[in-house]
């Protein structure tokens, strides 16, 4: 698959949140205002792209040659957890501005299933290293897009009259459903038209 096709696939067609339900917890939890949604979105994109590279390398250079692929789950989750820690420390040291913007979201990413999800999807789809990296970035952008759109909707909803029992999470889910319906317009046919 060409890199462009991978990009379109993970940003629109199989958007991690809206089509595959990965990373729903931050999608509902951190989307109350636009600012924190943008922060979370960029933090996830950042970690996802690095995690895609690192897990790919670990899988192909260590687990596969040694026949240890059954340790995949343990290795990946530990890698992602320590990677998040490392990224947090590096960002804190070298870019206080970035740290200020992303800092509080970084620890939350460890248990974000989207990061683990894209690492596993990369291995399952048999991507090479650059394809995995592209998929990681694209999935991150897809996440960013969905969470920012969602937060804009929720800010708008603050001033609307919402039935009492639908307030908060339920109405967020239902708006998410409407967004997912809109994203259903992006399908394989679109991809075929774009890249032939």
């Amino acid at each position: 698959m060409s890199y462009f096709a991978i990009l379109i696939t993970y940003v629109f067609i199989s958007n991690l949140i809206l089509a595959q339900f990965l990373g729903l917890c931050p999608f509902i939890g951190v989307s109350k205002n636009v600012e924190s949604a943008v922060g979370m979105g960029f933090a996830v994109t950042f970690v996802m792209s690095i995690a895609s590279l690192v897990t790919w390398a670990l899988y192909h250079f260590i687990l596969l040659p040694l026949g240890l692929t059954y340790l995949q789950t343990i290795v990946f989750i530990l890698t992602i957890a320590s990677l998040v820690q490392l990224v947090e420390m590096v960002v804190q040291k070298y870019s206080p501005v970035l740290y200020k913007a992303l800092g509080i979201y970084l620890p939350l990413i460890t248990t974000n299933c989207a990061v683990m999800g894209i690492a596993l999807i990369n291995i399952q789809s048999g991507y090479n290293v650059l394809e995995s990296f592209t998929a990681g970035i694209a999935a991150g952008i897809g996440f960013l897009l969905a969470i920012v759109l969602m937060s804009a909707i929720r800010v708008q909803m603050e001033t609307e009259k919402v039935p009492r029992f639908l307030k908060g999470a339920p109405i967020a889910f239902i708006s998410g459903g409407l967004m997912a319906m809109a994203f259903m317009a992006f399908d394989k046919a679109l991809l075929n038209n774009l890249v032939g």
């Binding site: 990965l22 995949q72 789950t73 989750i77 530990l78 399952q124 639908l166 459903g177 409407l178 259903m184």
Partner: protein, 207 residues
């Protein structure tokens, strides 16, 4: 007994605590997937709660989260390998979501919030309660989605019974959107609203 029943409605992990939503939505297209997923989650939850409460005095405080994650990941690997060996069809239809039990917030959440502070017996009860609550919530979502979205109820095939119950009327003209991703979000939204309504009724606090 109270420990055991709290997971169903009052502290239902999916609808009240809002934990473990990703697998709940992704695998709820068929009832059989929901049952398989719940079995996996209950097993991991039990195993990790028991291990964490047994080891709680030996785990250094500074690294307790990584230790919990390793314990959980070990049980998830067990489930994954067992499922591949004994239920390959189920394993295929659940896909990456079996491995993603490792990042299911219910499990880490219970290890952190309950098992690390309580004895083994209470932790087992807590795991069963949360696991059954997850099972209840997930099966409810799957039942609604499959009946409305496909007009069928898929269970395990047994003897002459091929495992699929068809709902007359709906199977010819199902509401396809419900079984797609958008429908999952609608169903969860409305169920959550229903749970809000149930738990806010006066005098019904003690369910």
């Amino acid at each position: 007994m109270r420990e055991l029943t709290k997971g169903f409605i009052k502290e239902n992990p999916i609808f009240i605590l809002m934990l473990g939503l990703c697998p709940a939505l992704a695998v709820s297209t068929q009832v059989v997937n929901a049952l398989g997923m719940s079995a996996g989650v209950i097993f991991v939850l039990l195993g990790s709660n028991i291990m964490v409460s047994l080891l709680k005095n030996f785990i250094p405080d500074e690294i307790h989260i990584p230790v919990y994650i390793v314990i959980i990941a070990t049980f998830v690997t067990l489930v994954d390998l067992l499922m591949q060996a004994y239920a390959p069809a189920l394993s295929r239809s659940l896909g990456v979501f079996v491995q993603l039990i490792v990042v299911n917030c219910i499990i880490l959440g219970r290890a952190e919030a309950f098992a690390s502070k309580n004895g083994v017996k209470d932790s087992i009860m807590d795991a069963l309660s949360m696991g059954l609550g997850f099972f209840f919530g997930l099966t409810l979502i799957a039942l609604i989605r499959e009946v409305l979205g496909a007009g069928t109820i898929t269970l395990f095939p047994m003897g002459n019974f091929n495992g699929v119950i068809e709902v007359p009327g709906l199977v010819q003209a199902p509401v396809r959107i419900i079984s797609l991703s958008a429908g999952a979000l609608f169903v969860v939204g409305y169920l959550k609203a229903m749970f809000n309504w149930i738990s806010s009724r006066p005098g019904k606090e003690e369910i």
